[in-house]
């Protein structure tokens, strides 16, 4: 008989707020939230401490609404570099228990203990408790830990009891613990999937597990089957290995993208072109730093009503040039969106996908001018050097001049949040 795996999922409670409270003990005694900058329209609650939670403040809520609930609320701007530092330290702690540590965003990680020597000294629950204690002793942060035989139920366990707790989801208790909960509590079930499931009479995770696999496929396509596997505890996906030296920055890079909620709505083609160049410069520069060429360009647009869509296109040949990225992105935008004063764009993103090493040979078209291409590549590489020495805004595109938005330093402000389960 196959032995079940032993997987832990550790979730740092109210991560950003806890780090701020850890760094500044005065904040522990007052309700506080970490929130974006309202001037740049990022004014939402990103994380809150327990006292703010007691006032009924919720993550994702607008800061003005949070202040209405709690007038003496302290708002702290996010300091992502510090959070990433804590995140790296936490991963180093997890690596003491297993080399299979897979981060899920900056504050969560799966740890696969199967076959780990620590299990000869402790039970999985004792290990989880020890991780909890170590995190508290060495980082001053609380974590909740889920223990189970698959990644999905381990994650469910860490969400089940918070803060600073351990929940074991075993083959004996998963029907009581997991199946009784609403379907929304399952990983990858969002608002719209929940609505579809409820319409079909599927309200709890147990309902989902007991439904027919075929029925779910008809209802939700391929994702329906995946969710059915999740609900029944049949997920067999592995916990990936983490490189101990890089502690997180070592996963295969599949794409490089950047998006931004603009400080004001974009209402003309010129606005879109400007922001797309600014984002494209950041993406292009990171792509060249990483030594990649991209074969596909993807754009993401969210309008004023928060409706969003993505479109992508394969390039005729792989490129390292910002110019090619933006030209393709802009063409995609023109084909798919009609902008006006009333149909403004709130947030815009551009992504370079289908990456390949920059020095790999590739097929030219008959009409290409390789000498011109090489010149452009040299030019952009030189501009990169200038930006590295004198700052990202030292050399700018003419299209970005004369607008209040043009001062944004998109590349420097960019932070990677690895969150997609299927990524």
């Amino acid at each position: 008989m196959n032995m079940d795996r032993i997987i832990l999922h550790s979730d740092m409670n109210c991560f950003y707020a806890s780090v701020e409270c850890m760094e500044n003990p005065d904040l522990r005694r007052i309700p506080m939230v970490v929130g974006g900058d309202p001037e740049n329209r990022h004014g939402i609650v990103l994380a809150k401490n327990q006292l703010a939670k007691n006032c009924g403040i919720q993550t994702g809520e607008a800061l003005w609404a949070a202040r209405e609930k709690c007038p003496n609320l302290a708002v702290k701007a996010p300091d992502y570099h510090r959070y990433m530092d804590y995140s790296r330290r936490a991963r180093k702690i997890y690596l003491r228990y297993s080399d299979r540590v897979e981060p899920f965003g900056p504050d969560e990680a799966w740890i696969d203990l199967t076959g780990s020597p620590v299990l000869s000294r402790m039970t999985p629950r004792q290990t989880a408790d020890q991780i909890r204690k170590t995190m508290s002793d060495e980082l001053g942060l609380t974590v909740s830990v889920g223990v189970s035989w698959n990644k999905i139920f381990a994650k469910f366990g860490s969400d089940y009891k918070k803060p600073d707790a351990v929940t074991e989801v075993t083959r004996n208790n998963y029907r009581q613990i997991v199946w009784s909960r609403p379907v929304r509590d399952l990983l990858c079930v969002g608002r719209s999937t929940q609505a579809k499931l409820c319409e079909a009479g599927i309200y709890t995770i147990g309902d989902l597990a007991r439904s027919g696999r075929g029925e779910l496929r008809r209802l939700l396509g391929k994702n329906g089957e995946i969710l059915w596997c999740f609900a029944g505890g049949f997920d067999v996906s592995e916990v990936k290995k983490l490189n101990e030296k890089t502690v997180g920055a070592d996963y295969d890079i599949k794409s490089i993208g950047n998006s931004l909620t603009a400080p004001r709505d974009l209402v003309s083609d010129h606005d879109v072109k400007m922001l797309m160049y600014m984002l494209g410069e950041s993406v292009g520069m990171r792509m060249r730093e990483g030594g990649f060429r991209c074969g596909t360009v993807e754009i993401h647009i969210r309008d004023k009503e928060l409706r969003s869509f993505t479109r992508q296109r394969k390039l005729a040949r792989p490129t390292v040039l910002t110019e090619d990225l933006v030209r393709c992105g802009y063409a995609l935008y023109k084909e798919n969106y009609r902008i006006s004063e009333t149909a403004g764009i709130r947030s815009l993103g551009i992504r370079a996908c289908a990456l390949s090493p920059a020095d790999d040979p590739f097929q030219l078209c008959l009409t290409d001018d390789p000498i011109r291409m090489e010149r452009s590549e040299t030019l952009e590489a030189e501009v990169d050097k200038l930006r590295r020495r004198f700052g990202n805004n030292s050399v700018r595109r003419a299209v970005t001049l004369g607008d209040s938005m043009s001062g944004l330093n998109i590349k420097a402000d960019h932070v990677v949040h690895p969150v997609g389960y299927f990524a």
Binding site: M22, E23, N24, P25, R89, S136, D137, E138, L139, G140
Partner: protein
């Protein structure tokens, strides 16, 4: 009168061993006084009462024991402050 601790960054004279370990030799206090560290024990990761965390060195200076934190790349100590001083 109660007291609490606040973080106080200090200048530290450090000896780097050939295998990359750091041994603090002396600490310069904010008023310019320099205290020679008689003995520093192996560091451990720990949380400071004053906020933040880092590698904590248990140091003996004369007859007293104090903790010195290395929060890469700076060093800090916990300064005692009385409530009425705040």
């Amino acid at each position: 009168m109660g007291e609490f601790r606040v973080k106080c960054y200090v200048s530290v004279e450090v000896y780097y061993t050939d295998d990359g370990r750091l041994i603090p030799l002396s600490v310069e206090w904010e008023d310019g006084r320099v205290f020679r560290i008689d003995r520093a024990e192996e560091p451990e990761l720990a949380v400071s009462e004053s906020g933040s965390c880092g590698e904590r060195y248990r140091c003996r200076i004369g007859s007293s024991v104090t903790y010195l934190y290395y929060e890469d790349p700076a060093w800090f100590v916990e300064k005692k402050v009385r409530f009425d001083q705040k």
